[in-house]
Amino acid sequence: MNTPASTPYREPFSPGLRLLLAGPIIWSVYHIIGYFLVEIACTRNLPSGPLLSVTAMTLIVAVLTLLSLGGIAITGFLSYRLMRQADEQQTGVQEREHFLGMVSALFNIVLALTVLADGASLLVLGPCGGAI
């Protein structure tokens, strides 16, 4: 490519963006896998067996819930730390990372609540909600 005498600014990748994306990705994976596992566990068309039993699937979803919560908690903490480390009053990278860290930390609180609410349904309703 053409190179101007004075090299154009190249923007470093933002750690704040990485954190901002991590939480939703964890939640999306959890939500899709959790939904499919429950659907598989509670459908009557699948063969029964130790790996495909309703109890096993429920256990897997419960473990997934805990793992997702852990992931979101870590992401939230890292975002909060980023926010504290970056100085809002500065311009450029500092200002931007403070902002992204703050948005990500707040977002992870909402995501944690969502995963908690999802997972709680297993505890309250039990496997397949008593459907089978």
């Binding site: 948005v103 609410a117 349904s121 309703l125 909600g129």
Partner: protein, 857 residues
Amino acid sequence: METASPAPGEQSVPQHQSREMTASVPRTVHEALDFTWQDPPGLIGALMALQNDTLGTRVMGTAFMFFLLGGINALLMRIQLARPENDFLTAQSFNQFFTMHGSTMMFLFAVPLLEGFAILLLPFLLGNREMPFPRLGVFTFWIFLFGGLLFYASFLFQEVPDTGWFAYPPLSELTFSPSLAMDFWLLALGVSEIGAIAFGVEIIIAIVNMRAPGMTISRMPLYAWAMLITAFAIVFAFTTLLIASLLLELDRGYGTRFYDPTGGGSPLLWQHLFWIFGHPEVYIQLLPALGFVFMITPVFARRRLVGYPYVVMALLAIGILSFGLWAHHMFAVGLPPTSLTFFAAASTMVAIPSGVQIIANLATIWTGRPVFLTPFLFVIGFIVLFVMGGITGVMVASLPLDWQVHDTYFVVAHFHYVLIGGVTFPVFAAAYYWYPKFVGRRMNERLGRWHFWLAFIGFNLAFFPQHILGLMGMPRRVYTYPSGLGWDGYNLASTIGAFILAAGILLFVVNLFYSARRGEPAGDNPWGADSLEWATTSPPPSYGFAVLPIVHTRHPLWDQEELTEGDPRIKNLVQSLGRWPLTWRAALTTTPFDARPVEIFRVAGPSIWPFIAAVGLIVVFASEIWRQHTLTLTGALIMLVAFIGWHRREPIPGDLEEERAFEREHGVYVRKRGSPVVIRNATLLSILIVLVAMASLWFSYFYIRIENPAWPPETVPRAAPVFPIISSVLIVLAAAAGFWARRGVLVDDNNRLRIGLITAFVLGLGAVIVQISALVRLNYGWTFNAYASIFYLLSGVAIATAILGLLLFLRVLFGAWRGEYSSAHFLGVEVAELFWYGITAGWLISFGILYLTPVLT
């Protein structure tokens, strides 16, 4: 926080800024810029017009025309329901009108209108000169218009769709809808869905890469944030809908079995795919509307918005969580209760970010000094109505209540509160707010107030009683009802309310035309607003900004004395850009986070080819309604020729030495053949769209698999994995060869580039041939059962995308032979390579799923 702006309508503080911004630019320069940027004259010129303000206004005008048509459908339905046992409409025509009403409002009004607003506003709001792909914008406008007209042409052929805007199978399958009505629905709306995705891509790139210098990610106007999230949601949601529609059209026209339970398919698969689109669709409409509200509230409350980062978080949360709620439209179809609670939980949780939005608005108004002019009245109306719609939303997120009110008028009331209160009211607010900027005159305030109060009262009279009707058990989509059920009065009130609402909208139309001629001259900034579009004249010049602004705060017009002061290097750049180039349409790209200048690039100029391509596309889709395959191929050929013409290299005026001098002086690239930044990002988005389409098919595969006790079904032999293993190895090797070729061009080794490209092409072609031969060897067709249908389709899509990648390689190879590429110019090579990586990922996952998962289960 102190008040930063004058009272709306009292003083036009920023007007001096627009003059100062351009004071250093001689008049002749303005004339030259105007000559370069304006749309061509005449009829042919009108077909090619691509200025963002022309295009945005056209899209909005067309969408508003469809809004009026959809509104007429609604009024006809309300007349029918005004009294019991009415015979104004037949059951059949009632079905047709509610289908046309819903489909029009969702596909032809709301999303296109909001995208049209974005096309119109974003370049001004972001402080740049144009959208990144004006020709794509032209193409998209025409396909939207043609698609909408084709949809309404169903009346001419007496093949009006009548299965509801959601078109559930089996009702929409060929057995129960044998006429062409469903084909009109699928194919005509399919065209406008493609348009929605194309606009989405353009909006994303404009916001990410075309902001004014200094408009960092934390200073972006909230409307830009809202549109960025919306555009990503459009890419994901509409692609999924396109795949769902493709499956249904294949079922109807070509005998596949995706939604046919007798062949192992499932009608519920449609519901899943449709609502994976359909629920985010609500937020795709809501988020831009929230963006309007967050631009208007601070101006009329005369203070900065409370909680900007919280609002950004809430916008993001709404956008992302909206994709996890789809099954809350399916609470009554018999999913396992635990699955349902997953979706109930997510549905309830979306109330949190929604609440944050409302609280931020209320806090801003509470702590401000509000001025209640028409745009702000509609914002207040939005808050009231959206809160009511939101509360009933939380109610229907609860399983027991939803089971009671499912498919009743309670749900109709709920979503109209959300969609009219939450979307249409902010749209009217935005229309009153930005009209002066683009027309140069304010809309009449008295007519505006009448419009607001008629709309507010009429709306509540029309839809509030429907909550009660729903709770009393009146089902939706019934064309009449017996008297004596206690429904009569509520229905009559609802009809009267609908007509009052319509009268309000009629006043708005009158006001639009009246004020264009007789409205009070607006000045540059009649509201004392804070965002960049108000720094231009009203109406703005065709090029937007002669000297691009430099942004230092979230409220540049309130906080900055000067819009052209800043880092000397950037200041020098924007000043120079005001004087050079004048003979080609130059815009600026900036970095995604910090908005630091990267390139001056040439935005494409007018061309007739996008229009011709749009004609070709509509011929393809229209002829498929009648299964006229020869005509379909003709349309495809027209498109192909048009695309070649569209991208043909054109002579560009300018002096190479001048360009180099500009680059040396300012440290930015000058790209007269288009922006690598923009094109690279467009390529990445194209790959994303392909992968989302494939992911929709992967989802379909697993869903059909769960619905079947044996996999593959006992009547189908398990496919041997030898062929996909060979083809996958070839695909990966082709990617490696492409990588090697690109490394070659970076060191100006043209031989290595050619050898690498030839190798990649041959290996890729080999993979395609191997996989096609695997399909040919199967002893069953795709109509055999749902397994066969998904097997063939997923394989076919992977092969088709690989063929597309091969064509790209071929084009690049042609360029390499002509010596087009060097270490200074290798964008084409990079695009082909990136696209092949995407294809490789899709290929490996698709064939992994098709051949390996049956073994695993």
